[in-house]
């Protein structure tokens, strides 16, 4: 999967949880889920579950702790897909 394809898929997953649409339009690898997109931190677990379903992977507690921005999410998903 190319970087762009991955970002597109992640964008679709996080879209329902985003509270700052302007920041979402400008989404880049550096975008932080909570600080930039104002996603309620409780919803991060829902995003994790949606990512698991989309990519058919399993994310551990350690993965969740790291998955705070687009960049880390991409890295973790890629690592799982390659594993």
């Amino acid at each position: 999967m190319t970087k762009d394809e991955l970002i597109t898929k992640l964008k679709a997953i996080i879209a329902p949880y985003v509270q700052d649409e302007e920041a979402f339009k400008k989404l880049s690898e550096d975008t932080d889920f909570v600080k930039d997109l104002k996603i309620n931190s409780a919803n991060l677990v829902d995003i994790i579950l949606d990512i698991e379903d989309e990519f058919d992977i399993r994310l551990e507690n350690e993965d969740m702790e790291k998955m705070l921005d687009v960049k880390s999410a991409m890295a973790i998903v890629n690592a799982k897909l390659e594993a």
Partner: protein, 424 residues
């Protein structure tokens, strides 16, 4: 100096009408909201009929964001939020996520149990060892105060925000708790009400107790028969009712429309003594509750013109009439008019008190007494206590000033409130 308390907003989600306009119409025409439910039949329920409000997806979308609806599987929260938001708007306010926090407004919104369907969903996942996949809203939807949490956030309330629970007394108790708070100057406005989930997981326990009727599965609208000789158990219902209570001072200051004044009330318990049990009321406590409610309201028993009873369509209806009659010291043709909203919507359990308080206020405001359907065959023991004509079978146009509403619940708990036409 105690504050006078008035009602400035109403909202309702009832099996026979969603929204105040439709519910008012249903009350006037005696429209039943009881229908047959195939899933109850499939699950081998004795009682296969019930009252479930009709809520379309379009309606839901007008109250909830897509995110709020994700994984929402608690009908009580859905009903409660719709009724609560309607009441708030009816009182002249807006639902605005950016609104300034309002420290003068609080909320007491009761329920019996919250998010039973969500809890079931969670239990299946848990038992499969999948606790990690429950998602983020199981707690919020299944905690008793889920409804208060959702609603207070949608409306931005900064005063006391809580949930009460006292079985079928819940809604009426919530109203009186909010009333106390305003009367004592601790809040200017309190959104009060209650809600109840629908469906087999809420109703099953009652079916098992054989307290719901099994005789009207083929003619659902005739099933809920309070005060009739052929009453054979209640019909389960669901939904929510909500009222905005406000200090008279605040209401006048805002130029708000005033539906009625809350004169006062009483809450007590029979302590499961003197004939009271977990499921049956102690008659002395019920009578005391009514008597004290009237006294607290500063009126005399003969001023009560209409009663909206608890009257569920079980064998206890006669006892309730006897209790009212003894408490008011009125019988025969001197007894007030009395009806049971449950003949139209069934027994909405934790939501009953709130839906029926809303019904009481509507009848007072719109000057009628709603028909009590399905009691053409009035119970003979009731007829020895009060004249049949005091139980309207058709809509009765009547301008009256005072209506009493009472609710009684499992655990032997009682609540009674008096509403009066607002006269400045």
């Amino acid at each position: 100096m105690k504050q006078r308390v008035v009602i400035t907003g109403l909202g309702v989600v009832a099996p026979n009408g969603v929204g105040i306009t439709k519910f008012t119409e249903a009350l006037k025409t005696g429209k039943s909201g009881i229908t047959f439910h195939q899933n109850l039949k499939d699950l081998n329920f004795s009682c296969q009929i019930g009252g479930i409000p009709k809520i379309s997806e379009e309606l839901t979308a007008a109250y909830f964001t897509e995110l709020q609806l994700r994984g929402l599987n608690s009908s009580g929260i859905l009903y409660g939020c719709i009724a609560g938001i309607d009441a708030w708007k009816d009182a002249g306010f807006e639902m605005n996520p950016e609104s300034t926090l309002d420290y003068d407004t609080g909320l007491v919104f009761g329920t019996g149990t919250s998010g039973v369907e969500k809890f079931r969903e969670a239990i299946y996942k848990l038992d499969e060892g999948n606790v990690r996949r429950l998602g983020s809203t199981v707690v919020l939807q299944t905690m008793a105060s889920g409804i208060s949490a959702y609603l207070s956030g949608m409306l931005g309330f900064g005063n006391q925000v809580t949930t009460n629970s006292s079985a079928c007394t819940t809604g009426t108790e919530a109203l009186l708790m909010g009333f106390d708070r305003i009367q004592n100057g601790k809040a200017k406005r309190m959104l009060v009400g209650s809600c109840s989930d629908h469906g087999p997981y809420v109703w099953g326990g009652f079916d098992a107790m054989r307290v719901m009727t099994y005789k009207y599965n083929n003619n659902p609208e005739e099933g809920s028969r309070p005060m009739s000789a052929s009453a054979s158990g209640f019909v389960p219902g669901s939904g929510a009712g909500a009222l905005v209570l406000e200090s008279l001072e605040s209401a006048l200051e805002r130029g708000a429309k005033i539906y009625a004044e809350v004169l006062g009330g009483e809450i007590n318990s029979g302590g499961q003594r003197q004939g009271g049990t977990l499921t049956a009321p102690n008659p002395q406590a019920v009578q005391r509750c009514i008597t004290k409610a009237i006294k607290n309201s500063g009126i005399e028993p003969e001023e009560v013109e209409v009663i909206n009873g608890h009257l569920t369509a079980t064998s206890k209806d006669t006892l309730e009439i006897e209790n009212w009659s003894n408490a008011l010291e009125r019988s025969g043709d001197q007894f007030p008019y009395i009806n049971s909203t449950k003949s139209l919507v069934g027994h909405c359990l934790a939501a009953a008190g709130a839906i029926e308080c809303v019904a009481s206020v509507i009848q007072l405001k719109h000057e009628f007494v709603a028909p009590n359907i399905n009691c053409e065959d009035l119970h003979p023991e009731i007829e020895t206590l009060i004249t049949s004509a005091r139980i309207p079978k058709q809509k009765l146009d009547l301008k009256f000033n005072v209506i009493a509403k009472a609710s009684f619940g499992f655990g032997d708990v009682n609540a009674c409130v008096l509403f009066k036409r607002f006269i400045a």
